[in-house]
Symmetry: C2
Subunit: 461 residues, 2 copies
């Protein structure tokens, strides 16, 4: 029988998959149960960090904390979840009862969104009873990983574009599902994009939205000029017309002819969009046609296969493109579609813990990251230290939640965006470019090194 | 002010972002409005297709139709959506009234899920009034693109693994958001995976779920053997223990020592998992330790950086691994994280239409794909033809919806999985391997070629 035939079809999913705590790996609930059976419910400390930089990223950008905090505050096992837990026959009565009463009661410390960070640095720390801190792992990683991934890609485009070129997210259609599309719009805005084409990003996140027209609009008309006219009359305030459905330069000339008529009707022709072929070459030709036709105030937007390298090449060659619509390369981070990140147990019941798996060893204990600046105010180096060690410079992790409640309202998305903009100004020059530069110094404090040695020597495994 | 401070925080999102028709690009609604103003509401035909194969894919797998049909049946502008439309000030009264009454009234024809297909072949065709068919574009692409992407990656792993090795999806944490995690589990199962670690995939899609334990469970204990015992007692039916937290072979020897005690307690030790280092080398050593310890029935599972190339190398070298947990490479399709796909207007008001943008020209008209087989039953070649042309072999597109209603229940996920399994048996040998083979013949029919020429010559642009 098709799923569409069952009772499930009233909603796309039976639960709210965005907030259900059942959105996790089965092993998390297996362990929840096993911890309870073993009586292991003392406080545990888990930290989220990225193990290494992709070759094509020089730094990373903290993002997604707001969604994590919301998840922690709202995660509940409701009737649908409890029915599944009972029916599955996998879990003890004790575990189900604990999950039914579950409220997140732990502490969260984290880097604010918009913070520049590096491998091995804890971005977020959860301190909570072991079973609780454990089973939240999967969704915490899922939420942090994706927005960090996209913000860290988007910021390269922002740096490549400089101040004068506008960047818009066009990538919902090839993002990996609905949530990816929305959160990519958010991460891109945080990184400095001007906005997105994705409508719900405006009501949900307050992000400016932009939209022009598609080729199909032109194709549905028998005549391209008529299509321009129909579209312009329907959206007279700020018209952007798509030129490349048939012949880009011919379309630009039609537009020059049409312009007096549009002006007479009070229509404001704001720009044109190019979406195929050699964008630089078309932009130069179209700019010339528009300028010669008296349309020098009309801006040129480009889309189609744009990424940070295309933008940098255009900028270096003074290509007259005023803004870009960026899709797939942004919302899938297509040159590197994942980060090697982890959420690892660093302390249990007051004792520091360490995983020593080959290539995946962890830094034990509760940690802080300290950032030093040089006399010019540039970032000079980070130290990963134990939380109770003294440090120099700026402490990057801040208290976010205590006993399950936020300590203060989180910074807004606009504040996170401003934070990142200020941090970019303090970035070492080598890290601002597109070429690989993994030279930023991150060191492990003496205290943390001593703890690593002590944990290794004490463990009797 | 933080978003967490506004009224929006009762839900992770203000609307149900998985089913809201507002989950689209702004230009879709701009065009909706402009079409109404221009009186252009005649039937339009849009087709979804992939433009080209990535270098590392030899064919693609149709997937995601069930989610598209559900979206089309359930998409409604409810109060939240209508309030946004009114408040935004962007849309005409006429457009808002039409959207308020919106129900999908069109026809859908599509390849069943689990169908092998190739570039330029229409996978799905929507026939509906132009404004309606237009604004549904973004979510239709978003849903089809992702599941096709993942199924087409997963099937390579399935072919590489052969019949004897079990594949499980472990990739929720690094999937791009919640929906991506769930739909990746579905696409992987469709492609032949045995199941997933992602819990909601069982209640929502009927997919078998699997779970073992994480390193943190071992780390939280002072003694590894004690951790094994605690976990085994809590999940006695089918225990799988993780060996690589500290020293893989030492852990295997501890297990051999522990085995009689587990057996005495009636605990069934089903397997062990390796998650780091040289998986092949560890598997060989662990197999030897287990076999010498009388545990030859205990299976070895491996995870951590596994993809189709790792699996193929292990198979070629007879590495004693019985199954794999596959994460990031599956759920992000990490070697190629997007497909160059499109949803294009092919006909409006009974007249075939064609986009001629450089490198993005389309095949006009309503089309069917015909597949021929050789005498041995192997796939021999496809023809993309006009719908009303006679064809030979099997017609791949089938009626799915008429006037907004399904013509019949869709095939179930199990049926789609079986369909693909049968199709893989009929795949030309070259396409089954991991090496690039783009030799499968796909031709354009004489009738379609004539139509292309006619559309180009008639267009006065």
């Amino acid at each position: 029988m098709s799923e569409a035939e069952t009772g499930r079809d009233r909603q796309l999913y039976g639960f709210d998959i965005l907030s259900t705590p059942l959105l996790t790996d089965l092993y998390e609930l297996n362990m929840f149960d096993a911890y309870l059976e073993a009586g292991m419910t003392a406080p545990a400390v888990f930290e989220f960090f990225v193990r290494k930089l992709p070759p094509c990223r020089n730094f990373l950008v903290a993002a997604g904390l707001e969604q994590v905090v919301r998840f922690l505050r709202e995660a509940r096992f409701g009737e649908a979840e409890l029915a599944w837990l009972r029916d599955s026959g996998r879990f003890s009565q004790q575990a189900i009862a604990r999950l039914a009463a579950f409220r997140f009661t732990g502490d969260v410390d984290a880097m604010p969104e918009g913070t520049v960070f590096f491998p091995d640095e804890p971005v977020l720390r959860i301190t909570a009873p072991l079973p609780e801190a454990q089973f939240l792992e999967t969704r915490i990683i899922n939420l942090l990983h994706f927005q960090i991934l996209i913000a860290s890609k988007a910021v390269r485009m922002v740096l490549a574009a400089g101040e004068d070129r506008t960047l818009i997210d066009f990538g919902l259609r090839r993002a990996h599902g609905a949530e990816a599309g929305l959160l990519a719009a958010r991460a891109a805005y945080l990184a400095g994009f001007a906005g997105t084409a994705t409508i719900p990003a405006e009501p949900l996140f307050g992000i400016p939205i932009f939209g022009t027209m598609a080729h199909s609009f032109i194709q549905a008309h028998d005549d391209e000029t008529e299509a321009f006219l129909h579209f312009a009359r329907a959206r007279p305030a700020a018209v952007v017309l798509l030129l490349d459905t048939y012949d880009t330069e011919a379309a630009a000339r039609k537009l020059v002819e049409l312009a007096p008529r549009l002006a007479a009707e009070g229509i404001h022709l704001r720009g044109v969009r190019l979406d195929s072929g050699d964008l630089a070459e078309h932009a130069r030709r179209v700019r010339r046609i528009l300028d010669e036709g008296g349309l020098d105030q009309v801006r040129i937007f480009a889309s189609g296969g744009v990424d940070e390298h295309v933008i940098a090449a255009h900028r270096a060659a003074d290509v007259p493109i005023d803004g870009y619509g960026i899709g797939t390369s942004l919302t899938t981070s297509n040159d590197w579609a994942s980060l090697d990140c982890a959420y690892k147990l660093q302390e249990y019941a007051g004792i520091a813990r360490r995983k020593r798996s080959e290539g995946k060893a962890t830094l034990p204990g509760r940690k802080q990251v300290w950032r030093r600046f040089d006399d010019a105010g540039r970032m000079a180096g980070d130290t990963i230290a134990l939380l109770d060690e003294p440090g120099q410079g700026e402490a990057l992790l801040r208290p976010v939640m205590r006993d399950g409640e936020p300590v203060a309202p989180l910074p807004s998305l606009e504040e996170a965006r401003s934070r990142l903009r200020r941090q970019l100004e303090r970035l070492p020059a080598g890290l601002r470019g597109l070429a690989t530069d993994h030279s930023y110094p991150v060191v492990v404090s003496a205290g943390l090194q001593r703890l690593m040695a002590a944990v290794d020597s004490q463990s009797a495994h």
